[in-house]
Symmetry: C2
Subunit: 320 residues, 2 copies
């Protein structure tokens, strides 16, 4: 019927993605409270902060304090985001994060020019010094990622052949640096994907690189997040980035729309109900989602935290 994986890894990005998006200042202690809550849900990977300039992202000014403050749970990998060597070294200096490098590309030439003032070609060439930076800092590189892999607000649709071409270039770079890329993250950065384009792009990549572990980073801006994740599951994709309660999004139009990542507990709910293992305690995750709403002080887009789980209804029915 479909090529569902038996189990999926859900990579939680709520604390980083969500708090970065929020306008009001969030006390450090409350950020830590959410991370500690998420640590107890069974999630195995949590992105907690980004090490960026506080001028660009004021909400991340307390990144080091947040990392120092949470209580690591054994078996959970805590990660951070950075955009340059300074950020990388800040992440390493904490001594508490799982710091890994990646070969990061962007499928959209125009997006790249806008944000990094580089062409695709220049961006590919820049990888040599970035990889050298990782090596100099003793950071392993086993991952590649392609942003805007399904479309771009500035360039429009992205062809499958461009993605395959980028993959080829990425693997060429990896080979030159003797890196073994095991995971490719395809990011729907600007929410252009539909279930059909997920099938198209993932299918093409999987056909060419059958042993590559594909990971999807999905946004829910146009309401396609869960449907896109489902299309990924049908294609056997077993790794997804997600944000608890849909943090980073907001149901108010004036607040920029529901721009967040696909919602973690809605994704976990779908997997559980379809017999796909996540290792996550959905009730505990819903508690974290409610905590996230309480912390940001406004409703968040997640649905299952409002609609309730079916497992709880089944228990109630069985007990009646």
């Amino acid at each position: 019927m479909a090529d569902f994986p038996k189990a999926v890894r859900v990579n939680e990005e709520g604390p980083r993605e969500g708090f970065q998006f929020e306008k009001g200042p969030i006390p450090t202690a409350r950020k830590i409270q959410l991370i500690d809550s998420l640590s107890k849900t069974g999630l195995k990977k949590i992105q907690v902060v980004s090490f960026v300039s506080p001028k660009a992202v004021p909400s991340m000014i307390d990144a080091e304090e947040v990392v120092k403050g949470f209580t690591p749970v054994p078996g959970v990998s805590y990660t951070g985001l950075w955009l340059n060597e300074k950020g990388l070294q800040r992440a390493l200096a904490t001594g508490r994060l799982d710091v890994r490098g990646s070969i990061s590309q962007t499928a959209s030439e125009k997006f790249l020019q806008r944000n990094q003032k580089r062409t695709l070609e220049e961006n590919l060439k820049a990888q040599d010094s970035i990889i050298a930076m990782f090596k100099a800092n003793g950071v392993p590189v086993e991952r590649a990622s392609i942003m805007a892999a399904f479309g771009c607000n500035f360039e429009g649709d992205i062809s499958t052949s461009r993605i395959l071409n980028l993959c080829e270039r990425i693997f060429g770079i990896a080979a030159r640096h003797e890196l073994n890329i095991k995971v490719l993250s395809l990011a729907d950065t600007m929410a252009w994907a539909t279930p059909l384009s997920i099938r198209r792009v993932v299918g093409a990549v999987r056909e060419k690189y059958p042993n590559l572990d594909i990971s999807l980073h999905l946004h829910d801006t146009r309401g396609m997040g869960i449907a896109n994740a489902y299309a990924g599951l049908e294609m056997g994709v077993a790794s997804y980035d997600a944000a608890v309660a849909g943090l980073g999004g907001c149901p108010f139009a004036g607040h920029g729309g529901a721009a967040g990542n696909v919602c973690t507990e809605d994704l976990v709910f779908m997997c559980q109900e379809m017999g796909i293992e996540t290792g996550v305690d959905l009730d505990a995750l819903i508690e974290s989602a409610r905590l996230a709403e309480d912390i940001v002080g406004h409703p968040l887009p997640g649905s299952v935290m409002k609609g309730g789980t079916l497992a709880n209804l089944r228990s109630k029915i069985a007990a009646a």
Copy 2:
């Protein structure tokens, strides 16, 4: 790759479903305004009111005035909901509605007992007098529907065999009354469906009744609405009930959760982006969705109305 239909019919239920759910009174003129707005979007079927006791549903006290007030657009079928002969005759008396009967069943024995104080068996037997009522009023019956087809808050999971069994009984009743049932509506009344159960149930029904036109009525309470619709598209389902802006739902937990139907414009967006014809002008539909938010006076769950369409971004890019 998948058995997508070339075109789908979207049956708008926002005015009925949405206004019924809202707590505050909505002026008749504003209800009419939304119906008139929806009439210009290309939607071919709009459910405008329900003829129920104003004691039970005070917001529908002006049903006749609403029906008298809107401006019918040729080619659009306007429908109403009723639960008994009195309601049916009120609908007929308006002279402005497309009044059609159906053989309505509920898959959940417990739901039926709670709401209608009947067993499944009694409910099947009751169809004789209901069909007689339709015939006496000159109302055609070409449709059957099964509520709670994917699960029930009071009974739990519903087996595929129960659905097939109900289908058999329904077609038996139809044969006895010389009715030609062309459409079967499967309703996920309490939002238990996942894409997998959509595939399971629709697949089983389609295999047994390959010529039957299946229609899906989906709720988004647990965030699965669009993914479930996608699973329906993969199974070739070409008819969906939906509510503009996700009317009937609400992003506030305290407001009962996002309990509405799947959102019309998000569904139309997905279809359009996947090359499936809907006949609907998405920009006009988004205008209707914004009007719906303005009328109810609080945010509604729809995403594309906040995130914007890709067609508009493509035009902007092409013009740049």
